[in-house]
């Protein structure tokens, strides 16, 4: 598969202010969200995305920034803020779910030992990924 080619960046004369990111194996799900975040970024002059053909599973995201700002850095920042936002959504949802279950008197689920060990593994992997970001 094209796993080695997840991302391609097109620039002119190595000028990092304006770049087109071609992301493989992605669709409107991620591209529209990244475009939305970058549109609210003060350092970004222009941002837009397109799906070149619906049969091909890739998107093009165009980012143009103010002087002396790198579009790659802005893109990176946008992804970072998306992760933060998802974290806060997760926390809020968990809290509200527990409250709702308490109110309705729903008992806690039976605990499966296999699931506990899987959760531990997932937590470790998540911590590793967090360490990579930080």
């Amino acid at each position: 598969m094209n796993k080695s080619k997840k991302l391609e960046i097109q620039t002119k004369n190595g000028n990092l202010r304006n770049a087109t990111f071609t992301i493989h194996e992605e669709s409107h799900t991620l591209a529209n969200t990244v475009r939305y975040v970058l549109a609210h970024d003060d350092d970004v002059n222009f941002v837009g995305y397109s799906v070149p053909h619906p049969s091909e599973f890739k998107v093009n995201v165009r980012v143009q920034t103010q002087q002396q700002k790198s579009s790659i850095e802005r893109f990176d920042q946008a992804l970072e803020s998306l992760c933060l936002v998802t974290n806060s959504i997760q926390d809020e949802f968990k809290n509200k779910l527990e409250k709702f279950k308490e109110e309705k008197g729903i008992q806690k689920e039976e605990v499966d030992p296999f699931v506990i060990s899987l959760k531990r593994q997932l937590r470790k992997e998540y911590k590793k990924m967090k360490a990579i970001i930080d």
Partner: protein
């Protein structure tokens, strides 16, 4: 509100009300309220989030969460009216009640030419990525079935009496018994059901509903409960309770006397993006919450008229004053816009009423949490790729010109 719903069109009025997005302040303005939570369905409201994010979660719920469904079947015998490919399609759509976390994806293998007598064996099928199911049903007349039952009993008696027969003769009888046992195993449950009837009224209803066909035949309906799980490797220890389809009464095929279905199915992990059978939700959808404003002072008569025109009873008169009682119930039918009531109808841009209906494999609250996790994984994966890029600095040359906005 900046989405304005008119009599004939919806317009977005940008009157300086562009909602800001700040990831640091996000949790202050964001809230979730869970309205309803059952085994299969969850309804909740998200406030402080905008359409791109909400849509991303909805899309992930539909296409990126993995489940397990039947992918390939080996047909040993199919004398029913249902064609092979139609039967395969129907089997694939049956939801199987197993948590896909325990399984890995099966790597794809190109189709190979197969010999006449051999079954296509996929060498990638291991206990970690495949589930085997067996479906063997044969439809018989009840009278014939009773004859077979009696002869089987006689055979058993004979076997007990003649334990010193030749080895060859024993083998022959053993084969006949195996056939009969297989046929019997599928229909025992029906016999038991017939014996356990309670009310007399229920008996009458049942007899009326049963057609003549059903009275004289056994196994004329092939249901999803007839799918039998065959554990391979260490799957028996991992799933001691067994693996079954979510619902036992999904009708797969109908048989007439003498028809048989003998099929071996392989179930595999996949996502909704590839085929809708792997979709974990019946549907996941959202709508924006309506915002209703009264711009005019209305007379008593007009207020009563307005209360009548709304079919969802959104408006109500309390203490002589017109009030908006249930704005949530509004279905945007625009009846209130027809008269001259001065009602301004719109959609709140950052409030979403979400509902998630699960097929029963994964509970809906877990589905939403998985969707959030998958979204985060996508972002992190892309970030890592970006960082690799900045290290390597392999850029392609771009012919496009800069777009100016000055």
């Amino acid at each position: 509100m900046s989405i304005h719903v008119g009599k004939e069109k919806i317009s977005q009025v940008l009157d300086g009300e562009i909602l800001e997005f700040n990831p640091n302040n996000f949790s202050e303005n964001f809230s979730i309220e869970i309205e309803k939570l059952t085994k299969d369905r969850m309804e909740f409201v998200m406030r402080g989030i905008e359409a791109p994010l909400a849509n991303a979660f909805r899309r992930i719920l539909l296409s990126d969460i993995p489940t397990i469904a039947i992918e390939t079947i080996s047909i040993k015998n199919n004398t029913s009216v249902i064609q092979d490919e139609v039967l395969a399609h129907r089997l694939g759509l049956i939801p199987i009640n197993v948590d896909p976390k325990h399984f890995k994806y099966r790597p794809k293998q190109p189709l190979q030419k197969q010999d006449k007598n051999s079954r296509q064996e996929s060498s990638n099928a291991t206990e970690e990525n495949t589930l085997l199911f067996n479906l063997h049903i044969r439809c018989l007349k009840k009278t014939d079935w009773e004859k077979i039952k009696k002869s089987r009993e006689l055979l058993l008696k004979k076997q007990e009496q003649n334990k010193e027969m030749n080895i060859e003769k024993e083998e022959e009888e053993g084969k006949e018994n195996k056939l009969k046992i297989q046929i019997e195993s599928g229909s025992e449950s029906e016999d038991e059901e017939e014996e356990g009837e309670i009310d007399e009224r229920a008996k009458e209803c049942v007899e009326k509903i049963l057609t003549q066909r059903a009275k004289t035949l056994i196994n004329h309906r092939v249901l999803s409960s007839d799918l039998v799980w065959v554990p391979i490797g260490n799957q028996q220890t991992l799933f001691p309770k067994g693996i079954k389809p979510v619902l036992p009464d999904i009708l797969i095929a109908k048989l007439n006397e003498g028809q048989e279905i003998d099929v071996e199915c392989e179930a595999v992990k996949g996502t909704g993006r590839e085929h809708a059978k792997w979709c974990p939700v019946c549907t996941a959808s959202y709508r924006m919450l309506p915002s209703i404003k009264l711009k005019k002072q209305l007379s008593q008569k007009q207020s009563k008229k307005l209360v009548k025109t709304c079919p969802m009873k959104v408006f109500d008169i309390e203490d002589g004053l017109l009030e908006i009682k249930n704005s949530r119930k509004c279905t945007m039918c625009r009846e209130c816009l027809r008269g001259d009531f001065g009602v301004e109808l719109g959609l709140v841009k950052n409030e979403f009423y979400f509902w998630i209906e699960s097929t029963g494999i994964i509970p809906p609250e877990e589905l939403f949490q998985q969707a959030l996790e998958i979204f985060k994984e996508k972002c992190i994966n892309l970030k890592n790729n970006l960082q690799n890029f900045t290290k390597k600095k392999e850029f392609n040359e771009n012919e496009e010109e800069e777009i100016n906005f000055d």
